[in-house]
Amino acid sequence: MEKLMDTVVLMLEGSEVTLEIFCVTLVLALPLGILAALGRLSPLRPLSRFMEFYIWLMRGTPLMLQLLFVYFALPMVGILLPDIAAALLAFTLNYAAYFAEIFRAGIQSVPRGQYEAAKTLGMTYGQTMRRIILPQVIRIVLPPISNETINLVKDTSLIYILAMNDLLRVARTIVQREFDMTPFVVAAVFYLAMTAVLTWGFKKLEAHYGKYAK
């Protein structure tokens, strides 16, 4: 029993890294995703082409490869980032690309009449986006965003290969040391708990933003 408690305490420490990657990535990648979506939809050809390329690059290569690239290849050209920053850079760039496509689909599903109504009321592009379009987009994109967010919880385990002590790595270290599989089970419970909290949170958000639909 005492051993289990020790395991849990160690793994709680591991969860800190996991949670840090998760939270910071989410906070950075969501706004970045919105900006990338707006860029992708921009009438400025070079901007929209660049965003298209960025999204293709990020979605077209494994996140694992991107992590290794930022961690091992960038230092070779003189860009040396602290471990956690390297991981965050790769995660944020990757997730922003996925979020961008979700937001793009959301923005495009708002009827043109909404833009026209805003325009005839004298609203600027910024006001139209901020006050009219994006609030409607949020409702549309919540389910797919929720999906990606839950993926992110589990993808954080990829930093395992960068030798950072996240939840999964701590679990494996204990397993190897003690010849006991319990830490894997504990890790699964930890991931499930985080996912449960997220699922509950998104349900609340969907109810909040869905209140205006009949």
């Binding site: 009827p111 009449g113 909404q114 026209e116 109504a117 325009k119 005839t120 009321l121 004298g122 609203m123 006001q127 006050r131 009219i132 609030p135 409607q136 409702r139 933003y209 209140k211 205006y212 639909a213 009949k214």
Partner: protein
């Protein structure tokens, strides 16, 4: 005398042309709307009525001709044939004189009825909310929807939504109100309440341009009727003469089919 007449001109369009790609939708339209006038634009679908209306408030940009709002130039065409719109600030000010009511209502679905009305006065005109609030409530009373102030658009019938859309446009105090087939998306039994609201506005001498298929409304509420076909104005006149004795064969054929 000429001067006072000019002052009364709210909207003047000259030689308006509009093409979408190689399709010429408007082929030289001249139109004048005076203060307090209700101009009904009728005609078969595809005749360019809605496009003409949308050229008035720059939802579409003209391909040729000129638009003046309250005596100031919104857009003009150079002798070389290039269309030039006035500077952004003037455009904004002139277009602020116009309001629009759409076929599909286009209310903001994430805002309550009251918030729909307050949105533009508060965030575009930057007026204090408390100052606009009584005006918004008064407008809702006027369109008969005081009891629905805190409802969301999806909770209202089409006719109610359209009346909210009219109130929302009025809340910006426009000088000219443009209606793009305001009853075409409504069930027949709901058109009456919207037309009643529009008749009341006409009786208050609101300047209105109405693209419509409602011949009864055009006959009773309009001061001028314009018949369009194939991108040109075929016939124009006061409603009595227009409906009782149309001159052009196309007008006669159209009215014969509609009535």
């Amino acid at each position: 005398m000429a001067n006072t007449q000019n002052e009364d001109v709210m909207l003047r369009m000259r030689g308006i042309k509009k093409s979408f790609g190689s399709v010429e939708v408007l082929r030289g339209i001249d139109l004048t709307v005076r203060r307090g006038e209700v101009l009904a634009i009728i005609g078969p679908s595809g005749s360019g009525k809605s496009t003409l209306l949308r050229c008035m408030n720059r939802l579409e940009e003209i391909s040729g001709g000129s638009v003046e709002i309250e005596g100031e130039v919104l857009a003009t065409t150079t002798p070389a044939g290039a269309v030039e719109y006035t500077d952004a600030a003037t455009c904004r000010r002139l277009l602020g004189c116009t309001g629009m009511v759409f076929q599909q209502f286009n209310l903001f679905p994430h805002m309550t009825v009251l918030e729909n009305l307050l949105e533009a006065p508060v965030h575009v005109k930057k007026r204090p909310r408390e100052e606009v609030l009584p005006e918004a409530r008064e407008l809702l009373a006027k369109v008969g929807l005081s009891a629905r102030a805190d409802y969301y658009p999806a909770q209202l019938s089409g006719g109610q939504q359209q009346r909210v859309a009219i109130a929302r446009a009025l809340c910006m105090k426009p000088d000219i109100l443009l209606f793009d087939e305001p009853t075409s998306a409504l069930d027949p039994e709901l058109t009456g309440e919207v037309l009643k609201t529009m008749r009341e506005l006409a009786a208050e001498h609101m300047t209105m341009v109405v693209v419509t298929h409602e011949m009864a409304f055009a006959r009773e509420a309009a001061s001028q009727v314009v018949f369009m076909a194939d991108g040109v104005i075929v016939e124009q006149g006061g409603p009595e003469a227009f409906f009782a004795a149309p001159k052009e064969a196309r007008t006669q054929a159209f009215l014969h089919n509609m009535l």
